[in-house]
């Protein structure tokens, strides 16, 4: 068990170095949601920092940043598959389960910078104020809640070719963020679309954060919906990994 943890953390260590040296990923992954947040809350309407919108948008865009970062794990997986690195890993003592688990841990650590930087921007630029416990719980929930998207990204990476993975991840990214109301609140959607949105992981992910900023406990329905999506995407990842092994 102890040696298993050492093996996985050795792998996570390698993958984290590789990810954070990808300056393009770091800049776009963190920069995009931050820039969108500043624009959404300061350009046009000019609605300043004190109102609800600054808080709603903060949660929405921190969630969006986490969602994108989670999905982007898949791009790294697809790249590793293309150069034969996944195949090479299979002939090291690391078990397939350890490789997938290590990749999921790496992916979930990669979502943290986007979350933290968006929250800091809201605090500094728009003067958003929350209780200390709210900041803490918000960060934690957005972090843990992003796991389904990391799983989806990884699954796409195992399943698809490098180029197809990129396109698929972008489509998933836009669809989940838009339909999930992470950019524009679903209260402004037409009725039918709002009811569809409530079944998507994007919306339920954002809801974890909105509940927290409202000072409420996370909705049970929301958690159940997210867990179901996590299981679906996790099964997809396991299936895709086995399939990639057979072919690769």
């Amino acid at each position: 068990m102890a040696s298993s943890i050492a093996l996985v953390s050795n792998y996570v260590n390698l993958e984290l170095r590789r990810t954070f040296r990808d300056t393009g990923f770091v800049i776009f992954g963190v920069g995009t949601p931050v820039l969108m947040y500043i624009m959404f809350t300061n350009v046009g309407g000019g609605s300043g920092g004190t109102d609800d919108w600054a808080v709603t948008a903060m949660v929405g865009l921190a969630a969006y940043g986490a969602l994108s970062a989670g999905l982007s794990s898949g791009t790294a997986v697809a790249e590793d598959k293309a150069v034969g690195w996944l195949r090479q890993l299979r002939i090291t003592p690391l078990s397939p389960a350890q490789v997938v688990f290590g990749r999921a841990v790496t992916g979930s650590l990669m979502v943290l910078p986007a979350i933290v930087v968006v929250l800091l921007t809201a605090m500094i630029v728009n003067g958003v104020r929350l209780d200390a416990w709210q900041w803490l719980v918000l960060t934690l929930l957005l972090w843990v809640g992003s796991l389904p998207f990391t799983m989806l990204g990884i699954a796409n990476g195992y399943q698809l070719s490098s180029q197809t993975t990129n396109v698929t991840n972008i489509v998933c990214n836009l669809a989940l963020a838009l339909v999930g109301g992470l950019w524009f609140p679903i209260s402004e959607f037409p009725g039918w679309m709002a009811s569809v949105a409530k079944w998507t992981p994007g919306y339920r992910f954002g809801e974890l954060g909105w509940n927290t900023t409202d000072g409420e406990a996370p909705s049970m329905t929301g958690i159940v919906v997210l867990v179901v999506w996590l299981l679906v995407f996790g099964a997809y990842a396991a299936f895709a990994y086995r399939r990639s092994g057979r072919k690769a």
Partner: protein, 326 residues
């Protein structure tokens, strides 16, 4: 360490078959390799070498038959850290230095070399701080080699390790490999360079169309074919077709105006020659490994009645197979 496992073979293929649709890439392979052997898996492109290696490493499962490493399933032996491998067509991963990569690999194995030792064996000491994806082809190949040996595995498997290398890089590579095998490790490498098999293996296993067609030392393989080369020039007139029908003659070849008869009985062939031609500059030489290999695979193809065997002869040579001529 390997001595404790002398009773169990390192590698054991038993009737292994791998089918891809209608194609049998590996077709009933039986092969046992003991500790400390250095074995070359020799065959043409598409002979089934890489598929056999995938089965050996547990990357693929046989359609029927079994493949065992150290008496266990391949994936079990891999998880125990007893195997290191260099795969074909693998490119270095991005955004890591050579040292970081090798050090990662050493930490996945239970009894690894030190990082410095692995780097030195692979000739990478000078390049340790460089990004692995910013190296030349030959340097990248050495990184793959370092990854394969860094765990100090009992069995090292190399799939066409020198395919992308120039002559000098190839020489350096085999030098590094000998330094590793001198530690008493078991090595299996695939190649289609006969010279490499001859020089770097104690045992040569020839496969063609997924089947084992010869197995032994390079001397034994040459002996199995039992052929020698009788060569001469024919100054007056054309080369008669009837040469192919002379006793012992296996094939007739004309290279640069010189007739080359591969024969299983050089004495009989030479004494029968005057009845057909007047040879000049007659030479009799034992066949090289290349000739042995061509003979083996040609026979094999012929017997199956499949596609004719086409050797990679230079454009100025003409080849006749005896059966076609007779």
């Amino acid at each position: 360490m390997t001595t404790t496992h002398r009773a169990t073979p390192v590698v054991a293929f038993t009737g292994a078959v791998k089918e891809f649709g209608a194609v049998r890439a590996v077709d009933g392979l039986d092969l046992t390799i003991g500790p400390g052997e250095r074995v070359a898996l020799l065959g043409r492109n598409g002979a089934g070498k890489s598929t056999a290696i995938s089965l050996l490493l547990g990357l693929d499962d046989p359609s029927s038959g079994t493949v065992e490493l150290f008496g266990q399933t391949p994936s079990h032996a891999v998880t125990e850290g007893r195997v290191g491998a260099m795969l074909q067509d693998s490119k270095p991963v991005s955004r890591v230095t050579v040292r970081e990569l090798v050090s990662f690999v050493t930490r996945t194995y239970p009894n690894p070399m030190t990082v410095d030792e692995a780097l030195e064996l692979a000739g990478l000491t000078e390049l340790a701080g460089r990004r692995a994806d910013k190296l030349s082809g030959g340097q990248a190949q050495r990184v793959s080699f370092a990854i394969a040996l860094a765990g100090d595995p009992d069995l090292l498997v190399l799939d066409e390790p020198t395919a992308a290398l120039d002559v000098e890089a190839r020489r350096l590579f085999w030098q590094s490999m000998r330094a590793f095998t001198d530690r008493g490790k078991t090595v299996l490498f695939s190649t289609h360079y006969l010279e490499e098999a001859d020089q770097n293996a104690d045992r040569i296993v020839v496969i063609d169309r997924g089947q084992l067609i010869a197995d032994g030392s390079s001397a034994e393989i040459k002996h199995t074919v039992g052929s020698s080369m009788v060569s001469f020039t024919v100054p007056d007139g054309p080369v008669p077709d009837s040469l192919a029908a002379l006793p012992g003659v296996l094939s007739v070849e004309v290279v640069d105006g010189r007739v080359r008869l591969r024969t299983s009985d050089s004495d009989a062939t030479v004494s029968a020659l005057p009845g057909v031609v007047t040879p000049r500059g007659l030479e009799v030489a034992p066949a090289g490994l290349e000739d042995a290999f061509l003979a083996l695979t040609a026979h094999h193809s012929g017997r199956d009645g499949g596609r004719p065997f086409v050797p990679s002869a230079s454009s100025d040579s003409a080849v006749q197979t005896p059966k076609a001529g007779a």
